[in-house]
Amino acid sequence: MNTATQSFSASSDRLSPSQREERAMAAFAQEFGALAALNLESCIHCGICAEACHFYIATEDAKYTPILKAEPFKQAYRREASAFAPFFKLFGLKKKVTADQLEQWQELLYDSCNLCGRCSLICPMGIEVADLIESGRRSMAEAGLAPKELLDRARKQAESGAPEQPDKPYPELLNEIGQANGLEIPLDRAKAEILVLAPRNDLEGNPAAVAAMVKVLQAIGADFTFSSDALVAENYGYYAGSRGLQKKITQRVVDAARKVNAKLLLVPECGHSYTALRWQAANIIGEPLPFRVRHVTEYLAEQLKEGKLRLKQVSGDSFAFHDPCQLVRKGGVTEAPRALMNALGLELKEMENKKGFSFCCGGGGGVNDLERAKPLRYRAQELKLREIDDTGANRFVTSCSDCRVAFADAAEHFNWDKQPESLVELVAANIKE
């Protein structure tokens, strides 16, 4: 299968090469903090990070080595901000990052990285390689070199709250989902304890998952609402690497939660929105959030513990569970889904690489949205499908809609005999009245 470097897609064709270089350098400069410096200074070029990356393992192509993906950032740091930057610059020991180089790196930073962070776990020096790649994406976005698919959606989401012009406005879709499932879905209530978001993937492609979340929240008597100002969980600004757009999209959600006086922002089954809201939102808007942020499985596990949620046992099937990277490896939501599965009495068959060490679904970090990345994604996904099959489980469940989309697409591509199921749907279908 061809994994040759893809031709780049510029999100802005109006910039000249020198403008791209200047903007990239300005973005890099914003990222040069103590943490980045420590990460950049520590690399010993051991190459071990490649052995954690599903894109490298699947292709054995050295260009997919995670730390190589961060090379423009490293190069810029050495030349502009490191201890001996004047020395490197004076003697031309570190070349300037060029627009050509950035164009070549687009595939490495976007198509072949899910920001899954497995590389950060293997590094013997403890380098946060995934963070460096995120910094690389930020410079690409500023240089007008984020993939058009991602940046266009980020711009639309920042302006209107919806990453794409849907056939029907999302509030209308939500209303239809309620009607189809016999639910009254609260939208735009003036006050509520909980502001709930919905994955765009589910609103458009798997409305049953949205209905399931509502059903469970109503069953436990939660005081919640959706907001038409901020309905979508995903943050395309984060995917694209645009700090400005990520901030606008985040601010929209934070403002909506403030407006209803929410004590809790409930992140649905969406891994990257968890990272964007749970760990990055307070930093990107520059102040602590006046509410808690929890993933729906964390919240339901809390309700389970308090006895507010009781579940029926599911028998007759065995299940494999995929740990979404942003929730588990990078987010620490490891035990909550297992507490729910345990309460459901699932016969759980764990994969060889599980919990924090799980392989990525291949679709995260915006890769699902890149049509041209599909051939490479499928190769990486083969690893994962094999691991799932090796468990011997006959059903497969996860807690991230982006992962479900990636697996559903792979299932179709490979004629795989399983379909990814939503854990929250499984919970909703087995509530003990």
């Binding site: 690399c43 050295a62 080595t65 776990l121 403890g126 760990w279 060490f357």
Partner: protein, 222 residues
Amino acid sequence: MTLLEFSRGPMLHAALVIFVLGVLWRLTSTVLAARRKNNAEPRVVGGPALSGGLIAVGSRSWPHPEFIPRTGFGEAVGYGYHLGLFAIVLLGAPHVVFWKNLFGINAPFWPTLPTGIISVLSVVTVFLMLIATLRRAAHPVLRRISNFDDWFTLAILYALMLTGIMAVFGIGGRYETILALHIISFNALLIWFPFGKLMHAFYIFPSRFVNGYMHTKKGAAS
């Protein structure tokens, strides 16, 4: 002034000055880089988060079981020659004398290994370094990410090890000349140290600690 006198006199002193000032400057520039306040609500705070950092300092020395099948060989070779170097530098009798003289310390408790063991260790260490070098040259990933720093650092280490072995086994010429070349190699290592990857000796523990601390604060894998 003979070559030997020069190598362990003015050249060594200059190399030490460059080493100390360079290392301090590089570390200071890292520490002084802008720090951003983390406003996110942590999952774990205080002592347990700090413990997570400290645990990572040790645990990252040993690969997670999930990774061993793919990384075990490379890591064994890497750690192997590092351990060999440490043993030779810190426990070889001539080196112990050198350190004592250099720092003007009298440490009767400083143990040494017999010359025979140090000789065997030296040969084994060079052998492991050769494997590491061949891997760097042949492995597609290592070849792709290697730069001048990697090759120059290895060249200095080879010069240091080979002149040391030649001095111990009395081969390659007059002992004084070989010893002078050995000390010159050491001086070169000191001079290059702050500018290249050798600095990982200072960065390794803070880097691991910060990674472990940050991950533990989030309750994430580390």
